[in-house]
Symmetry: D2
Amino acid sequence: MARIDVKPDGYNYLFNPANAPVAHVNPGDDVFIWTDDASESRIKTKDDLPKKKLATVHFLNPQTGPIYVNGAEAGDTLAITIKDIVFDRDYAFSAFAEHFGAMSAVPLTSLQPPLKEHTWIWEKVDKDGNYWYEPELDICIPKRPFLGTFAVAPEGEAISSLAPGPFGGNMDCPDICPGNTIYLPCYNDGGLFYTGDCHAAQGDGELCGFALEITAVSHLVFNVIKNKQITNPRIENDEKIMCVGSARPMEDATRIAYYELIHWIHEDYGFSLDEAYQICAQVGRCYVANIVDTLWSMCASVEKKFLKRCGGKPKPEDLK
Amino acid sequence: MARIDVKPDGYNYLFNPANAPVAHVNPGDDVFIWTDDASESRIKTKDDLPKKKLATVHFLNPQTGPIYVNGAEAGDTLAITIKDIVFDRDYAFSAFAEHFGAMSAVPLTSLQPPLKEHTWIWEKVDKDGNYWYEPELDICIPKRPFLGTFAVAPEGEAISSLAPGPFGGNMDCPDICPGNTIYLPCYNDGGLFYTGDCHAAQGDGELCGFALEITAVSHLVFNVIKNKQITNPRIENDEKIMCVGSARPMEDATRIAYYELIHWIHEDYGFSLDEAYQICAQVGRCYVANIVDTLWSMCASVEKKFLKRCGGKPKPEDLK
Amino acid sequence: MARIDVKPDGYNYLFNPANAPVAHVNPGDDVFIWTDDASESRIKTKDDLPKKKLATVHFLNPQTGPIYVNGAEAGDTLAITIKDIVFDRDYAFSAFAEHFGAMSAVPLTSLQPPLKEHTWIWEKVDKDGNYWYEPELDICIPKRPFLGTFAVAPEGEAISSLAPGPFGGNMDCPDICPGNTIYLPCYNDGGLFYTGDCHAAQGDGELCGFALEITAVSHLVFNVIKNKQITNPRIENDEKIMCVGSARPMEDATRIAYYELIHWIHEDYGFSLDEAYQICAQVGRCYVANIVDTLWSMCASVEKKFLKRCGGKPKPEDLK
Amino acid sequence: MARIDVKPDGYNYLFNPANAPVAHVNPGDDVFIWTDDASESRIKTKDDLPKKKLATVHFLNPQTGPIYVNGAEAGDTLAITIKDIVFDRDYAFSAFAEHFGAMSAVPLTSLQPPLKEHTWIWEKVDKDGNYWYEPELDICIPKRPFLGTFAVAPEGEAISSLAPGPFGGNMDCPDICPGNTIYLPCYNDGGLFYTGDCHAAQGDGELCGFALEITAVSHLVFNVIKNKQITNPRIENDEKIMCVGSARPMEDATRIAYYELIHWIHEDYGFSLDEAYQICAQVGRCYVANIVDTLWSMCASVEKKFLKRCGGKPKPEDLK
C-alpha cells in the first residue's frame, strides 16, 4: 500500500466526468489530499467581506480532484474511509454574505434589503486545532472537523461544486469525518472522486452559509465494492449506519435519507422494508446537514445495535 | 405545594380557549396528569388496523385539559417542568395507516394506491418500561419517554389537537421529556394547558406517524414568568437551550426554530443578534421532531457552555 | 323568494361553528351582504401605513357572518351563486407591510431588514368602478371584482379569517366572482357561511399581500345539495369547472386542486379517474390564487366542452 | 437571410457548453429545426409502456443542438422568435409512468405502490393537427403547440435535458409557442441553443408528466441583444411580457418569475421596483408551466397596456 500525496496545481469547480484525473490510486493506498478553503483562500481578515472578495468570482468552492480509483467501474460503489483530517493553517473564517444563509431570503425571491455582511476570524487555541476562539464573540468552541464536499463525478452531467446530490457533493454533512466510511455510487470508471471545503467546526445546517472554513490535509483510504449499487450517499462507523438525502423542500431531503436507510437495513440486515420502516420510526435519528446550499441535505441514521434480532423476548435481568 | 391529580372524565380534541378547565393549579403544585393514547385506547392488538379503528372516528388525539394555572395571564409565559412520566400499561402500539406517514404521499395529493396497513404491538420488557420488545420484529429498544402533545390554548382560535404551532401542540418532539422545562406563551388567562399523546419511544420525525403510543401519568410542575413574551415553544435543561419551530415546508420550521433560538441567546445571554446567528451557525444542533403532522416540527438547540464570554483567548493548557 | 339584507353590527374574525348566526336565509333568497375591507376601514390615505394602523390590532380581515342556510346539514354541500358585487366607496387601498407579501421573507424566518412600507390609494374612474386609477403610479386598470374570503365554519375548529382551507376561507381566488357558483362542504347544520375581504381587482397571487381592498355589497343566492360530500371548494360557470387547493408548499396546493378536479370529473362526467387524470394533463389550467396567506391557494380548471365523449372520431369538417 | 435546416444525425441529452455545434446561424436567418419526441420515438402504440420502453434507457429527452448563433457572446441575450411549429407525424403519445407525474410521489420519497402505467395515443383529426382525438377517452381537443425544451448551454455546467433553470431548459411552458419571442441569457459565445420535446397540446403543469408528445419542425429566427443581461427566461408578444421561474418548492418558482418580471418592468418601462411590484400585485397573472420535472416552472405575465403612464386620471368617457 503506497502513500500518495495529492496537492493540486489548480482546482476544478465542477463535478465533471470529463476532467482529467489529478491522481490515480489503488484500493488501500494511503492518500493524503490537500484542499483549499471554499473561498480559495481569498478571505483572510475581518475586512475581507464576501461582496468584495467572492461576489465577483465566477466559481467558488475549489475541488481537489478527480482522483481515479483503479478497479472502480460504473455500477460499483466506492467505500472511502477518512483516517484523519489535519488543519493546514491557524485561522478559519466564517462570514455573512448578502442574500445567502438560512436566515436570509433565497436569491431572486425577495425584494428585501440584504442582511449586513460580516467576516468572522476564528483562531486556533491549541496547536492541533482541537479548540477555536473568535475574538469578537469572545467564545471558544471545540473542533468538529469534516469535509464539506465529498463527491464522485455524476453520470454525464457536469455539476457545480456548490451542489449536493445523489453523487455526494456539497452536502456539508458533519458525519463526513475521521473514523467514518463514506459510500458513493460509481457512475464512471475510476469513480472520479472530488473533495474540498474542509470545516474545522459547523453547526447543524451551516446556518449562515459559512462554517469554520479552512485549508487541510485529509488522509483517505479508498476501496471498491464491486457490482453494488446504491442510490444516495451512505456513511458507516462501528456504531451507526447513516444516509444523506439532498433535495428541496427539506421534507423531501428527509424522506430520501430515510428511504435510503430503510433500503440499507432491508438489504444488509435481514429485515423486510416494512420492518425497516417501523425500526426507523422508533429509533431513527435525523438532523439537518445543510440548509444553505443549492439543495438542502439531511442525515438520517440508526444504531447498529437495533439491527439484530433478539431471538425471543429478553429477560429483564439480561438488560443492563 | 399541593398534590393534584388530573384524571379526566372525558377529553377535548381541540386546543380551545373556550373549554372549561378540568383543573386549577397553583405554581409549584405537583400535578399528576393521566393521558390516554392517541387512539383513545382503540388499538390493542395486531388485528386493530387504523382503517377499522380510527378512520371512522371524527376526532383523534384526546387531550387532558385545559388546566388553569392560577396567576397566569395573557402576555406571560408558562414554564412547565416535567418531573416524571410513568407508563400506565404493559404495551404500546404503533401502526401504518393508509395515506399517513412520511414515506407515503400526503392525503389528497396523490392517486397512488396506499401503503398496506399494519399494527405493531410493543411489549414492556421490564416493570418500568425501560426497554420495549416487538415480537414480530424480534428487536428490543430502550425507552425515550415524552409527551407528544403539549399546548396552551391559542389566541381566539380553536385548533385540532393534531396540529403543532406557536402554542406548542402536537409537536412530537422527544425533548418534551422528564428533566426538561418547557416554555409556552400565554394567550389566555390561566394559560389553559393541554397535554396527551405520550410516547414510550420515538425516532426523529415519528416517521410512520405512530410512535410507541401509550397511556401514562406525567408529573408536571407549573410556573409563571410574568410579562415575558416568547413567540414559539422553548425548552431548557442544565446543558442546553432548545426551540421548536413548526411549519411547512420543513426549511421554514428549521428557520423558525433557529430564529427563536437566536433571539433567546440575544435576550438572555448578552450577545447581539449577529453574534447569536454566528454561534448557531457553528455550534447549533437541529433535528426533525415530526414529519407526519399537519405541520412539520424541528428542534434547534445550543449548549449553554458556548453562551459565555471567555474574557480573552484561553490558553491551550486551560482546555481539558 | 325573499330579499334579505345582511349588514352587521359587528364582525367575526374566526370561522367559528360556535358563533351565533347573524342571519337565517332560505335557499333561493336574494341575499345582499355588506362587507368591510380587510383593514376594517382603518386605511384611508397614503399616510395610513400598515405598521401604524394594522400591526397593533389583534384580529384582521373582519367577516360578515355566520349566515345560517335553512335546510343545510352537516354532510350536505352549499351551492352559492354570486349574482353581483357592488363597490361601496370611491377608493380602494393596497399596501406593502413589513414582513408580509410574496417578495419578502415569511415572518419569523429571516433576520433581513424589512421592505419599506407604502400605502397605495386606487380611485374609481367611473361611477360603477369598472376602472381604477392610482395617482402615484399614474396607471389605470379594469375591475376584477371578487370576494377574497368565502367560507363555511369548519368541523369543530375555530380558525382565523386569515386562513384558507378545505372550508374555503381566505383563498383570495379571483374566480369567487359574479357569474360563478361556489360549492363548499357543510360541516355544521346551517352551513354557517362567512364572507368578506372584497377586492376590486387583484393579480394572480395577490403578490404584495393587499389587492384593491374595498367595502362592498354582494348579492348571493344560496342553495343546498343534500347528501353530497366534497373535499375542497369547487367553482362552476357555464364554461368551466374549477377547484381550489390550499396548502404549503405550493406544489401540494396544486395537487389538491387537481385531485379535487379529477374526482369531480370522475363523479359527474362519467370518466374513470385515470381518464380524468389524462384530461387534466392535456387541457387543465392552473393559476396562483394567493401566495401571501397562511396557506397558498391554487385554482385548477377544465372547460366543460372537453368533458363530453365524441361518440367516435370527429371528421375534420365537423370542427370549426 | 438564409434558410437553414437543422436535422441532426444524433442527439444530445445534456445542455452542455462542451458539445460541438450542429449548425451555425446568422441573426435573422430562417432556421428550421427538426426535433424528436421526448421518448426518442420509442413509444408508438398503447402497448409501449414507459417501464418497457423508457425505464431502461440512460438518457431521455433528446435535444437538437447546440446551434451556434454568430455574433452572440457571453453577457449578451438571445432573442428567439418562433415563427411556426409544424407537426411531423399523425399521432402524439402521452403516458403514465411509475413514480412519475404530479399525482404520484416523487421518486425515492415514498414506499407506496406505484400508479399503474398506461399509454395514450392521440390522433390527428385534421391534416394540420389543429385538433386531436384519443380513441379510448373518445374526446377531442385543440392544439396548443410549443417546444417543451428551449435552452442555452449553462455557464460551465453540463445539465440533464430533463432540467429547467435560468438557462431555460425543460420548462414545459406553453408560451414557448409560435408568435412569441423568447429571451435567454448567453453564458457562452454563440449562445449554444438547444431545443426539443415538442408538445401538440398540454395542460398547465403537464400533470401526468407527458403531454401530447410529438416530432416536429420548428421555424425559428435568432437575434442577439448585445451587452444585455437577464437572469431568467423572458417571453414577449404584442400583448404581454412574461417570465419563467424554475425552482422547488413551487412558491420559489413563482417568486423568481415575478422577481424577473418586476425587474423587467423596472428596466424597460420606467417604473420603480416598488411601482412594478404594485402593478404585478394588481394585474399580474401566473400559471403552472410544469409540476413534474426536476424543478417546477411557473410563468408570470403582465399585459403591456398596463405599463404606460396615463398622464393624469382618465375621464370615464375615455374608457371603452
